[in-house]
Structure formats: structure tokens, C-alpha cells
């Protein structure tokens, strides 16, 4: 019986064993991780803090009658204090969610559903994360108006354009802090001041900024902020939403239930991963300066060495107003996907993780005005706390070799070297 079933499994093309097989890795060696914008490895200190909550302190944080509940609640409240401390907020203003996507959904849909029908207009930007853009699209289908602000060539919002877009019925402005594809930093303080003077709620998706660059919600006049756990070396599946209490931000909850988290997000709190987020926030606060110094040094080395060794390389996004750990480079005459295949020893991305399944060029690069051929040949290199200088050296060496090899094979590059003007070519087939 056993031998017959084994044969049946081997011969069947859709056999479960081959579908779920993860015993043999496709490539023998582990790749060096350069995709910190997609996610980050969980810091061992964070894992150490989480484990007791998965082993012994397994109570429901909402159980008020016994020690197990009190222990879990203690951990959650400590985490809330760490998260709020990092952004100079009050712990009561932090709502734990399942991640930045859920936080963005609650913020945008919740606020506009509450303000409906007095306020019907939302302003956002063209380079927001997909979850913000999709939430805005949904609001449009429900009768709201959405303005998608264009960005300048360096990826930064023009405050003048934002001023012009504000209407008497604008209820919410949603602009992200640091972009996940190009790493540019938006002028949150100016936007916050503008929104406060016009009595408009200001939401910012700070998933890529929280714990990496200093944020002060009072100084920047932020009303709502999305936080992601797995971008700051915390566990995946947890995030938070900052909801200002003075002046009060009211919103309608998306998820109905037992009224947990001030009624904004009902559901049992996942105490182990919340404790992980809190610990990640605590570590981020104490290590921010040192990490940023290291990452800036590594990024400067990477960019300067690549630009020195290969011609026709472009850094997408502003050079100064950025988070240095996100480096988006475009290589002329070297296609992005082929470049990734040549860089098997490195975990990279040629577009954000949520849009990498499609073959379209990144909408963020398109919004910057980057031509399609440069957009298709872009690489997003993410640097983080655990990146070492030796990895950067190895990466630069391999990247230079790969780009040179691809350009050697490219007939367009040969034409460029001969001095052919591509704008004057008639590409039609005879």
C-alpha cells in the first residue's frame, strides 16, 4: 500500500510533496540581505523579549480576573509606552493593529466615513503605498473626491501645489513620511502646519520612518500615523496607529467587536508580537543615532563606488532629504530583472515587494518622471542595522561585473557608444 501511494505521488504532476517541498533549496548558498524596505530580520533581542509571552505568559491581555491576563496586559502596556515614547506621544494615543496596511485603512476610511457628508475631499500623493491608493480609490467609488498630488523630479511634494489643492470640504491629507521605493523624506512639519491652520486632519504613513528618523507628532502636528513592526526589526503581523486625542480625532471603526483599543480596533491583542514591537521601538530609540551614522557611511560608500566604477548610473530621489538606507539606482542599458538574476548572491528588489508580481515599471518612478527604460533598469538596495562593510564591498564588485557584462551584450549600448541619437531613430518595422 505504501509503495503504491509513493509511486502515485511521484508520477502526479500536482503532487503535494513537490508543491510544498522546501527541503532542497533552489540555490545552494544563502543570499546577503539587501531588501530592508520589504522587511527586516527580527532582532535577537526582540525575539528574546517575545518568547516568554509565547511560552508561559500566554494569557489574554483583556482577562481582568487572573494573573495570566495581568501579565500579558503588563507586557502590552509596556510596549505601548515604548512605542509612544519614540514619537513623543501619549500611550493612550497608540492603537495596536495587524500592520501598517490595516492602520492606513482605518485612518483613511475611518476618518472620511466619520466626516461624511460634511467633508468629501481627500488629498494624497502619487507615490503613496498601494494600500493608501487603494483605500482612496474605494472612497472615490463611494462618492468622495480624491486629489493625487504630483511630486517634483526629486520625489518631494510641492507645498504650493498642496495649498492650491485644499478646498473648503477637504477632510484629510495623507502623505507618507519616507517612501518605500526611493527613500525620500517629505517635509512633514510644513505639511502639518498647513493642515492645522486649515483645520484638516493630517495622516502620515510612517512605516518606513518610524524608529529610523526622529519623529515628534506635536512638533509636526500629525493627527494620525501608521507604524509597522517588521520594518524596525520587530515581528511581522503587528503595527500601530497613532490617533491624536488633543485636539480629538474621531473616526469610525472598520472592525466591529468587543470594543478593545478604544473601540477603534476590536479583537484580542496578540501580546507576544506587541511586546516584540515595543522592544523593537525601545531598541530603535537607543540605537537610532548609531544606526543612522553607520548606514549613511555604508550608503555613501556604495553610491560613490558604484558611480565611480560604472558610467550612466542615476540615483532616484533627492540626494539629501532622504533616509540613507534606501538606495534606488537606475543603470542605463542594463535591464533590471536580468541584473537581479545575475546578482543571485544578494536579496534585492527592482520595485516594491507589493508590486513586484507585475511587470509594469514602478508607478513611483513614473511619478518622478523617470523614463521607462530607466524605470525598468532600477534596483532598490536596502541597507539596515545588520549590513556590514564587507557585504557592501562584495556587492559593489559583483554589481559592477554584472552591469558591464549586460552592457557588453546590449546592442543599444553599442549604438550609444557610437554616438547614435536615439530620439532621431524611426523604430517602425518595414
Amino acid at each position: 500500500m505504501l509503495s503504491i501511494s509513493k509511486i502515485a505521488i511521484k508520477k502526479s504532476p500536482l503532487s503535494l510533496s513537490s508543491y510544498f517541498s522546501n527541503t532542497k533549496p533552489r540555490y545552494k548558498f544563502r543570499s546577503h540581505y539587501f531588501d530592508f524596505q520589504a522587511t527586516s530580520p527580527t532582532d535577537p533581542r526582540v525575539l528574546d523579549k517575545m518568547l516568554p509571552y509565547m511560552i508561559t505568559k500566554q494569557g489574554n491581555a483583556h482577562s481582568k480576573t487572573h494573573m495570566h491576563g495581568w501579565e500579558a496586559e503588563g507586557g502590552v502596556e509596556e510596549a505601548r509606552a515604548h512605542v509612544s515614547d519614540l514619537i513623543h506621544a501619549d500611550p493612550k494615543e497608540i492603537i495596536f493593529t495587524s500592520g501598517a496596511t490595516e492602520s492606513n485603512n482605518i485612518a483613511i476610511k475611518g476618518v472620511m466615513n466619520f466626516l461624511n457628508p460634511m467633508k468629501k475631499h481627500v488629498i494624497t500623493s502619487q507615490i503613496e503605498h498601494k494600500c493608501v491608493l487603494e483605500s482612496c480609490k474605494l472612497l472615490e467609488s463611494k462618492g468622495f473626491d480624491v486629489t493625487y498630488l504630483p511630486v517634483q523630479r526629486n520625489g518631494i511634494i510641492d507645498i504650493g501645489e498642496l495649498k492650491k489643492a485644499i478646498r473648503p470640504d477637504t477632510g484629510l491629507v495623507s502623505i507618507m513620511g519616507v517612501n518605500n521605493e526611493i527613500g525620500v523624506l517629505q517635509p512633514l512639519k510644513e505639511i502639518g502646519n498647513l493642515c492645522r491652520s486649515n483645520k484638516i486632519k493630517f495622516h502620515t504613513d510612517c512605516a518606513q520612518m518610524f524608529g529610523k528618523l526622529p519623529i515628534d507628532v506635536n512638533d509636526m502636528k500629525i493627527d494620525l500615523m501608521s507604524i509597522s513592526g517588521h520594518k524596525i526589526y520587530g515581528p511581522k503581523g503587528v503595527g500601530a496607529l497613532y490617533v491624536r486625542r488633543r485636539p480629538r480625532v474621531r473616526l469610525l471603526a472598520l472592525q466591529s467587536g468587543g470594543g478593545q483599543e478604544r473601540g477603534i480596533r476590536s479583537g484580542t491583542l496578540p501580546s507576544p508580537i506587541i511586546v516584540g514591537l515595543g522592544e523593537a521601538a525601545r531598541i530603535a530609540k537607543s540605537e537610532m543615532e548609531r544606526d543612522n551614522r553607520r548606514i549613511k557611511k555604508l550608503a555613501d560608500k556604495l553610491i560613490s563606488q558604484v558611480m565611480e566604477k560604472i558610467p550612466l548610473v542615476q540615483l532616484n530621489g533627492d540626494k539629501e532629504k532622504r533616509y540613507h538606507g534606501c538606495v534606488n539606482l537606475s543603470f542605463a542599458f542594463a535591464e533590471g530583472e536580468s541584473l537581479l538574476m545575475n546578482l543571485k548572491d544578494f536579496a534585492l528588489s527592482s520595485g516594491s515587494a507589493c508590486t513586484s508580481a507585475s511587470l509594469e515599471p514602478s508607478y513611483v518612478l513614473r511619478a518622478l518622471g523617470v523614463p521607462d527604460e530607466y524605470a525598468h533598469s532600477s534596483l532598490r538596495i536596502g541597507l539596515g542595522r545588520f549590513t556590514t562593510e564587507k557585504e557592501i564591498d562584495f556587492f559593489v564588485e559583483t554589481l559592477v561585473t554584472s552591469v558591464e557584462r549586460l552592457r557588453e551584450m546590449s546592442p543599444l549600448y553599442d549604438m550609444y557608444l557610437e554616438g547614435v541619437d536615439f530620439t532621431k531613430i524611426n523604430w517602425s518595422h518595414d
Binding site: R30, L47, P52, G74, E77, D345
Partner: protein, 111 residues
Amino acid sequence: MSLTLSTQNTFSFVQNTTTLLKNHFSKITTKQLAQLKKTTVEEASKFTNYNFREYFKERANDLFDEFISKNETNEELVKQFYDDRLSELEVIKRQVLIGKLYPEQKFVKEN
């Protein structure tokens, strides 16, 4: 009644810690700090994951060098620093063990 119970693991995993026990009475000397630095770097070198290994080694060196060069005279601050590093050493020891329980592939250059 305090709702926040101690989250520190009271059962310390550190063996042979007669010289490294939390020192609540006498002054912490530079020699003790140097000993703790050496032990931390040794333990951090045992991480199987290359990135964690390099990060924790470099961090231990940087933190201790910076603190020792400051020549801090305030005993409270020295004790606080010592106790914090001791707790971190315990975390490193536990996590090194966990890393060994779940081995992973090596990098191409590590072979």
C-alpha cells in the same frame, strides 16, 4: 498592587558568573568593565548568523570603548551601564543557543 510584573527572566542562564554578578555594593572598576567587554565579544562571536555575529561584536566594542573613554565618575551611571550590559549578555547567550537550534545555509563566501 503592581500590574506590571517583572519581565526580566530571574533564572539567569549565565554560568560561572562570580565576577560578573550584578554588583550592588562595591565600585565597578575599569578592569571589570574590560572583563565584561571581553566576555560579551566572545559570546557574540558564537552567533551562527554572520550578520548578528558581526553586529553584536562591533556594538559591544563601540559601546564599551565609548563608555570607558568617558572616564565616568558617577558611580550610579557606571553601575547602570554595567547592569544593562550584563542583561544584554544574558540575552546574547540565550539567542546564540536558539540560533544553533535552527541552523541555516552559509553564504557563498563563508564556504
